[in-house]
Each structure stands twice: as C-alpha cells, then as structure tokens.
C-alpha cells in the first residue's frame, strides 16, 4: 500500500518534472555542482590520506614517530605553505634520541634532519631536492631499498651520500651515478648508493625520497654548527610491543627530560598518517565549506523551483484534495518531487566530481580515492538537501485550502 503510494508519487513527480524539462535540468545542475565539488575535494584529499595510511600500514604496526609539538595548523598556513617548523629550532635533541634508543621496547630509531642547502653538480642545480641527515637505521625502519650501491652506515666516510633515483637523473643525467661527486655548500660528496624509485611524494616523513640526498647524521650536524636539528624521529619497536603503552611511556619520559614541558608528540599507528595531512585537512575543510555553500545555493534553487511549481499547480492540488488526497499525501508527493531533483543532481554531481578529480590528478602526484564513504556522503548530502529544501514548499502545498485552490484560474 505504502509502496504503491510511493510509486504513484514517483509517477506524478516524474510527469510534472518532465513537463518543465528545462527548469528541472537547471535545478538539477545547481545541485550537481555542489555535490561535484564536494566529491572532488573528498576524493583528492582522501587520496592523500590513503597514500600515507597505506605507507604506515606497509611499514607495520610497530612504527612510532616523534615530532616536535607545533602549533595546530591554522588558516594563516594557507599563505605560508612551508612546514610550520621549517625555521624554528626543534626541541628534539640527540639526547632524546639516546633516550628513545635506551628504552627496552625500542628496536631501532633514526633521526630525520632536513637541512636547507643547495645541492649542485658543476653549475647544475636541480629544481627540486631535499637534503636529509639521518642514521643508518632509517633504511630498515622506512624499508628503503637501494637499486645500486649501499646505504650510509657507521663505517662509511663522512663525505658520502645516498641519493634518490630522480635526483641522480636531475644531477648527472643517469641513474648510474655511483662514485660521482656533487657539492653541498661547497663541500664535495661522493655518491655511494642510489635509492630504488618509490614514487611517494606524500609520506609521513614529509620527504620525497626520489629527490632526496641522504647523508650521515654527523655530516649533517656540520652544516648546522654541530648542533642536531631533529625534525622527526622514526622508531621501530620490538614485535609484540603494546604501542599505546609505549606511547605513554615515551611521552612521559620525553616530558621528564624537557623540564616537564610537553614540546614533542609521539604518534603511533593511524595517528601518523592523520597528523601529517593536517595541512591538507585544512585545505579540505576550507574547500568543503565553499562546496557546501554551492550545495546550499543549489538547495535554495530546489526550493525556489518547487514553490513556482506548486503555485502553478494550485488548482491541481485543490482537486487532488477534493478527490481524497490528505495533507500528508500532498506533502509526500512534493517531497518526493524535490528528492528526485536532488538525487538526480547528486548522481550527476558524483560522476562529474570524479571526472574533475581524475582530470586534476593528472597534474598532481597522486590519484583520487574511490571509496564507498564518498559515495555515501554524496548520496546523503543530496538526499538531505532534497528533503530539507523540499520540506517548506511541500508544507506550503499541503496546507493549501482546497476551496481557494479550486476557485483559482490562471
């Protein structure tokens, strides 16, 4: 009974929407633009998070990361997209590293120290490169693989470096660059290893290893007046460690050593991926709110067109009431009509949104995320908008006086 009633409503709604085809299409496109922008944003930002999450997953559950505690990302960072801590002194010290290593659960720990220095070969200077000073443990923690040569270790000379595959090409024009030399701040370094290309520009280290030159931690300190400037410490714990407990112990220990100042943060498991994409979260939130406005405007479009349609069909509403339609039935009929508009808009928007996302992804280094959550959000939003903005017109239609309505000519 209810099913057949809904079917009737659907039939009626379809009929009346088809009659005002141009109007319906315009309203649908209004909604679809809103849903499309939200889908695009979610697909792209989801793409980033999923990359980092996958990396963390592949590294394993025994990964922990210590970072300096920086201010939460704010809107100001949109103007200043360089990492917040780029020019500040990190509170993490070599002593902290020693502390971490001394904990019984710690298997391996490696500091990451990014140094701002230009890398050049003769007068060739690659457009993009990162100089990282770290310890030999990094290779194992981050599962970095070498396609050639060896990773830095405790016995390699100070003036040696391991470079990413792409950096090798940018510097020397080839991936076969073992033994070649290049300059960092006037000092000459010799290439002893080439990293296998991993193509992960976005990762929890905030370093693109394909473009990185990795030098020993002690060499790195020489570029910084012999002071360690640790941006991040990557930790691999022993198998079977309770990560939450480890996090607590380490947090407490680090705080104790820093005069009880909470100036660093320990991240385990999924948290690692989350906090790394803070900046992207910010972009996601701001763009989503813009998309939300687009959707809101689309919703107003629905309301507008529904009100027009209802006023055009006043007599029909009066007649339907006279032949037995209750207020509820009339209300339902018009809500279903607005739902049809918004669901069609949502469907179109979802497809359009992914189309745009894939086009954009051709210019950025990652792919949009395809997930049922995004589909559910798109569906939920369009149904929600249809129901919400259809409610008032439907209510207006339902409470029309049948006598007045039937008297009207137009």
């Amino acid at each position: 009974m209810i099913g057949s009633m809904l079917l009737d409503h659907y039939r009626t709604a379809k009929h009346s929407l088809e009659r005002a085809r141009a109007r319906t299409l315009l309203t649908i496109s209004g909604i679809s633009i809103g849903v499309a922008s939200i889908t695009t944003i979610l697909a792209l930002s989801g793409g980033i998070s999923s990359i980092v999450t996958k990396q963390v997953d592949s590294v394993g559950e025994n990964l922990a990361v210590v970072r300096p505690l920086t201010q939460q990302a704010s809107l100001a960072d949109l103007n200043n997209p360089i990492a917040q801590n780029a020019y500040t002194t990190s509170p993490l010290t070599e002593d902290d590293l020693a502390t971490i290593r001394s904990l019984p659960e710690t298997e391996l720990a490696a500091p990451l120290m990014t140094i701002s220095a230009s890398i050049r070969f003769n007068d060739e200077r690659p457009t993009y490169s990162t100089l990282v000073a770290t310890s030999p443990e990094l290779a194992e923690i981050n599962q970095l693989e070498l396609q050639d040569g060896q990773f830095i270790d405790s016995v390699t000379l100070q003036n040696t470096a391991v470079i990413g595959a792409q950096l090798s090409i940018d510097l020397f024009g080839t991936e076969q660059s073992i033994g070649r030399t290049f300059q960092i701040r006037g000092q000459t370094f010799t290439v002893i290893g080439i990293l296998t290309r991993i193509n992960q520009p976005v990762n929890f280290n905030a370093i693109d290893f394909d473009y990185a030159a990795i030098i020993g931690f002690d060499s790195g300190k020489l570029f910084n007046n012999s002071v360690a400037q640790v941006q991040q410490i990557n930790i691999l714990t022993k198998p079977g460690t309770n990560m939450q407990q480890y996090k607590q112990t380490l947090t407490k220990e680090l705080a104790r050593r820093h005069d009880n100042q909470q100036d660093s943060i320990v991240l385990v498991g999924k948290e690692i991926a989350e906090s790394n994409s803070q900046f992207f979260d910010l972009i996601t939130v701001s763009f989503s709110s813009i998309a939300g406005i687009a959707l809101f405007v689309g919703g107003i479009g629905i309301m507008n067109i529904m009100l027009v349609g209802i006023s055009e069909r006043t007599r029909e509403i009066g007649l339907r009431k006279a032949v037995g339609a209750s207020n509820g039935t009339i209300m339902m009929q018009f809500i279903i009509e607005s739902l049809i508009i918004s669901i069609l808009g949502g469907l179109m928007g979802y497809i359009l949104g992914y189309f745009v996302a894939f086009v954009i992804s051709m210019f950025i280094p990652y792919d949009p995320l395809l997930s049922w959550e995004i589909a559910a959000i798109a569906a939920g939003l369009s149904i929600g908008v249809g129901a919400l903005f259809g409610l008032y017109p439907a209510w207006r239609a339902a409470r029309k006086d049948p006598i007045e309505s039937l008297r009207r000519y137009h």
Partner: protein, 280 residues
Amino acid sequence: MSKTTTPVIELKDLKRRFGVGDAEHYALDGVDLTVQKGEFIAIMGPSGCGKTTLLNIIGLLDRPTDGEYVLDGKNVEDVSNARHAKVRARQIGFVFQNFNLVERLNVIENVALPLTYSGLSHLKRLERASAMLKNFHLGEREYYMPWQLSGGQTQRVAIARALVNDPSIILADEPTGNLDSKSSHVIMEELNEVHKKGNTIIMVTHNPNLTTYASRVITMLDGKIDSDTQTITTEEKAEKKKPTSKRPLNKATSVSKPKKAKATKAKKKTTTKKAKGATK
C-alpha cells in the same frame, strides 16, 4: 433498493461564519437538512446565499463554525482532516462548474485520479476508469487530453471521475454553468442515469429548468433554507419509498410547481432522445 432508515446526511443548525469583526457574516445561518439515500436534490438560490458553502461543508472541504453534521450515521465534527480526506476519497464525488480536469493528464488518468487515494494498483485503477468512461460513451476518448474535448465531453469526463470511486454522494456545483443548453441537458441526462442507479446527488444550480430532473428542490436565502419541495416526476421515483424529511424544516413551505414539472416532463423525454442522438 436501499435502506432509507439512516439518512445519508443529517445537518442540524449548521452555521458557517466568514470574516471577523465588522466584516463578519454568516454564509450559513442555521441550516437543517436531512438527505436520504437515493435523493436527487437541486439547491437553488441567489448568489451569495450559501449554496456553495453548504456543498463544500457537505463535501468535507470546509468545516462548519457551529452545528452538527452527521454523514452515514457518523458525526464528522471531531474527525481529523486526514480522515476527512479518506471519506472524500471513498464516499464523495465532486463535479465542478469549471470541470477541473488536470490539464497535463489525459482523460483516463483524470478519471482514475480519485482512485490514487484509495489504494488500488495502477492497472486496476486504469481498468475501472476505462469501464467508467465506456458508460459515458467516451471509450474512444481515453487518451485525449482535456483541451481536445468539447465542454460537454469535458464535463462528462468530470462526472465519470466523480463516479469512479463509487461514492455514496455526488456533489455537483453548477455542473452545467459553463455549458450551452444542449450540452447541459446531456449532462443532466447523465446525472439522471446516475441517480437512477441509486446514487445520491446534491446539485447546486442557477437554472430553474434543471430542477425538473431533481426529486427534491431546495431554495436557499441568506444562509437559510427558504423552501424544500419534493417533486416526484418519474415512475422510478414512484416505485421507490418516498423519502421523507424527518425533521421539520425551517420554513417548510412547499412551493408547489406540479404544473411546471409536468410540463417539463414531456420536454425531458424529447431531450433524452436528443441527448442519445448527440452522444452517438
């Protein structure tokens, strides 16, 4: 044929007020009326005497300000609007002066419209609408659009629509008001046929000629019933138990017009022929 023990409609001291303050006036000012099953009532009266308001209240489109309305033994006073809608869907059929077909629906969909609200399947509804249209000799017009029909045809579609849910009462508000006299008589013949099948019809009209089809003529004045006359003209009505109004009516002055009735009886027979010729 039918049990006349419980009246279909019983109105007691019915009042309907419009406006407030200075503009306040009573469109209905104490109407008492009892309608038995199978009656064909014509309501006459000058404009603004409350005929349409009465019809709207009987049709449950409007609620009385005061008084009692018993429909099929049930007091509809304290029944919710949703229940009213249900009663309209099952027991009441409307015929309007301006036909009120839905312009964007074709003939058969228009006729099937009231059945939408009675829970029948789409196919069943169309079948019943189609059968009803055949009764009105509109079988070939099923898929015409309303604007492709003549005025008389349109009103016959409207009557078919009013009858499709097999209502116990048919309310017609000047059903022939927008038609020429020839079409008017065709429509009246149709209504007469409907009446002969045992339906109760209440019709508002301005045209005194049409009252000859009615079994009872009521004239209204200033929101009150001015006169109430039983006119038994045809043999069918004679067979039937004579419907009697149980309550004394306001000014139950029987306006006798047997002469006129007889005169129009002959006329009616001729128009019947005419009508049949017209519909074929």
